[in-house]
C-alpha cells in the first residue's frame, strides 16, 4: 500500500467556508502515550518505532476497540526533534533487525512510515486507508477528522512520535551540508537559533504594547504546574521541577528575549489517538469527544520572517476560521490549549482567538490574573511543551481528557469543560481542532 501525503483539499484554509460539513459527526475516543525519555538509549524497545507501537496499542486499548475493527492509520512521518542520524554513522543493525523492515534502514529509528508500522503491528489486519499528515499532530488531526468525516475510514488511528539522539540540535541534516536549497539558504545561513524569529516578533510586541519579558513568568509557572500534573509528560516522569519566576528569569538567553525555558526541551515521545464516527464512538469504552471543526493557516510571510503585523493579522484570521466552521464564538470556549513551543508566541494565538475577550497587546496583562485550572479563565491547562517537553501533542491529549472528565489532577474546575480548542504550531502556518463534549 502506498501512503500519500494529505492533499490540500483536506484542509480548511480559507474563511467563508461555513460550518464544517462533518461538525459533530467525528469523535476522538482513545488516547495512548508511550513513556518519555530525554534521548534514545540505543535499545530496540525504546526506538521511535517501538514507542510508537506502544502508544498506538494503548490508544486502541483505551478505546476498547478490537484491532481488526481499525481500518485507517494517519502518521506524521517526520520524527526528528532537530537531531539527525549523522551521515556515515554506522547503522544500528541490532535494532533494525529487531523489526520487520522497509527499504529504508532508518525507518522506525529516525523516521516513521505507515508501511513500517503495519509491518510491525500484525494485529492491524484491516487497515485499508493510510495517509501522512506532515509536520505535527495538529496537521495529522485535521487529516484524520476530515478522512473519517468523508468516509475514507471509519475507525482510524493517528500518531505522532519524536526521536531525540545525542548531540546538538539542528547541527545535522540539511544544516550540515555545503549548500541549502530554497528559502533556508537565506533564513538559516547565519545559524540563528530556531526561536529567533519568534524572539524578534516578541521583542516588537513588547515595544509596541509596552510589555516586558518578565510578564511571561506567570504563564511559564502555570504551564509547568499543569505539566507536572500530566503523568504522560517528560517533566512529570523524570524531573518534577517547578518553574517559578526566579528560575525562569534567571535563565540564560538563547535568542534574546527568548531564554532557555522559552525553548521547549527535546525528548523521545509518542502520542496516539483513535478517531471514529460519532455513531461508532457511542459504543466504545471512553466518552466520545466530538470534533466541531478543523481549520488551518497556510499563510506565507511576505519576507523571510513573519512580522508582528502579519502574525496578528493571521492569528485573527485563524480565530475567525475556527469559530466559523465550528459555529461557535469565543464565549463558547471553556479553555484553550493553543501551542506554546516557543512560549513567546502563545499570546499571539490567544489574542487571535480573542480568548475571554482579550485583544491584541493584552495577553501578558491577562497572564497576571488567575489563569490556573482552578480559575474561570484556564490558559493552557495541558501545560503544553513548557509543561511536558517538545511534542506538540499534549494540548490535544488534554482537550480530549478534559472533555472526557479524566484529566486527573489537571482537570479544570473553575469552568465546566464543554468546548476546547488546540493547535499550532506557528502563528503563521498551523492546524487547529475544536473539540466538544457534545456533538451539538
Amino acid at each position: 500500500m502506498t501512503t500519500p501525503t494529505a492533499p490540500d483539499s483536506m484542509y480548511r484554509n480559507d474563511e467563508g467556508l461555513g460550518i464544517w460539513e462533518h461538525r459533530g459527526k467525528v469523535a476522538a475516543v482513545g488516547v495512548g502515550h508511550a513513556p518519555t525519555s530525554r534521548r534514545w538509549d540505543g535499545r530496540p524497545e525504546t526506538c521511535v518505532g517501538a514507542i510508537t507501537i506502544d502508544a498506538l496499542r494503548k490508544a486502541i486499548d483505551d478505546a476498547g476497540v478490537a484491532p481488526d475493527q481499525i481500518d485507517g492509520l494517519v502518521v506524521v512521518p517526520v520524527t526528528t526533534t532537530g537531531a539527525f542520524w549523522e551521515a556515515g554513522k554506522p547503522l544500528p543493525m541490532d535494532v533494525i533487525q529487531s523489526f520487520n523492515q522497509t527499504d529504508d534502514p532508518l525507518d522506525g529509528i529516525a523516521k516513521l512510515s505507515a508501511e513500517w508500522l503495519l509491518k510491525n503491528m500484525p494485529e492491524l489486519t484491516n487497515v485499508n486507508f493510510t495517509m501522512y499528515g506532515p509536520g505535527c499532530m495538529s496537521n495529522a488531526l485535521n487529516v484524520t477528522a476530515q478522512a473519517v468525516g468523508d468516509g475514507l475510514t471509519h475507525t482510524c488511528l493517528v500518531v505522532k512520535s519524536w526521536h531525540n539522539f545525542e548531540g546538538r540540535y539542528y547541527q545535522g541534516g540539511a544544516n550540515a551540508g555545503a549548500a541549502l536549497p530554497g528559502t533556508p539558504a537565506i533564513t538559516q545561513l547565519w545559524g540563528g537559533p530556531a526561536s529567533y524569529s519568534t524572539a524578534l516578533q516578541f521583542a516588537e510586541y513588547c515595544r509596541k504594547y509596552g510589555k516586558t519579558h518578565e510578564m511571561m513568568a506567570p504563564f511559564m509557572e502555570n504551564s509547568r504546574r499543569n505539566g507536572l500534573r500530566f503523568p504522560e509528560g517528560y517533566w512529570a516522569q523524570h524531573r518534577p521541577e517547578e518553574l517559578g519566576p526566579e528560575d525562569y528569569l534567571a535563565s540564560r538567553w538563547i535568542a534574546k528575549p527568548a531564554n532557555l525555558f522559552d525553548n521547549d526541551i527535546p525528548i523521545m515521545m509518542s502520542g496516539a489517538y483513535l478517531f471514529s464516527t460519532a455513531e461508532r464512538a457511542a459504543d466504545m469504552k471512553q466518552k466520545p469527544v466530538y470534533i466541531l471543526n478543523h481549520a488551518s493557516s497556510n499563510t506565507r510571510p511576505r519576507s523571510l520572517l513573519p512580522t508582528l503585523d502579519e502574525v496578528e493579522a493571521d492569528t485573527a484570521r485563524t480565530g475567525r476560521k475556527i469559530y466559523e466552521g465550528a459555529g461557535i464564538t469565543a464565549d463558547d470556549l471553556s479553555f484553550e490549549n493553543m501551542y506554546d513551543g516557543f512560549s513567546l508566541f502563545h499570546q499571539f494565538h490567544l489574542e487571535g482567538l480573542g480568548y475571554r475577550g482579550i485583544k491584541f497587546g493584552e495577553a501578558l496583562d491577562f497572564y497576571q490574573t488567575d489563569i490556573s485550572i482552578e480559575g474561570p479563565n484556564p490558559v493552557s491547562p495541558s501545560g503544553g511543551n513548557v509543561g511536558s517537553g517538545r511534542s506538540r501533542v499534549w494540548m490535544h491529549t488534554d482537550c480530549i481528557q478534559q472533555l472526557q472528565g479524566r484529566a486527573g489532577a489537571r482537570q479544570v474546575t473553575g469552568v465546566k469543560p464543554e468546548v476546547g480548542v488546540s493547535g499550532g504550531p506557528m502563528p503563521l502556518g498551523g492546524n487547529y481542532t475544536v473539540w466538544s463534549a457534545s456533538p451539538d
Binding site: 530525554r38 517547578e242 526566579e246 528560575d247
Partner: protein, 117 residues
C-alpha cells in the same frame, strides 16, 4: 589558598542526566577541604538547590551557565575552577569568565579530589 570550584551538573556529577563521573562524595571531599563550592548549570536555580539539599551538601552558590562572572565578583579566591562536559556551555563560558577549566574525567584525577596526605 582559597579554591572555588563550580560544578556543572548534567554529564558532570553522578546525579546528572546523563550521569557524570564526579561523585557526590568527591564534592563532599572538597567541601571538607573548605573549598568554596557551588553549581553552575542550565537546571533551574530551585532544582540545583534541591539536588544539594537532597545530598545534604552545603554550597556557597547556585547559578545559571551564564553567571560565572557574578560568582567571580562575589567570592574572593585564589583559584577559580569550573568543571563541565560541554565545550560551548562550560569550557568557553568558564575561560571567558576567567576561570580555569577541567573536563569531568580530568577533575576526577586532579589532586583537588584526592584526600590530603
Amino acid at each position: 589558598m582559597t579554591v572555588l570550584i563550580s560544578f556543572d551538573i548534567d554529564g558532570t556529577l553522578e546525579v546528572g542526566d546523563p550521569p557524570g563521573p564526579l561523585t557526590m562524595d568527591m564534592v563532599r571531599l572538597v567541601r571538607e577541604k573548605e573549598f568554596l563550592i557551588g553549581s553552575c548549570s542550565d537546571r533551574t536555580l530551585s532544582a540545583q538547590r534541591a539536588i544539594w539539599a537532597d545530598h545534604e551538601i552545603e554550597v556557597d552558590f547556585v547559578v545559571g551557565k551564564h553567571m560565572l562572572p557574578d560568582v567571580k565578583a562575589k567570592f574572593d579566591a585564589d583559584v577559580y575552577l569550573h568543571i563541565g562536559d560541554r565545550e560551548d556551555l562550560d569550557r568557553q563560558y568558564a575561560l571567558k569568565a576567567g576561570f580555569d577549566f577541567l573536563w569531568p574525567d580530568e577533575a576526577v584525577a586532579h589532586p583537588h579530589f584526592q584526600p590530603d596526605s
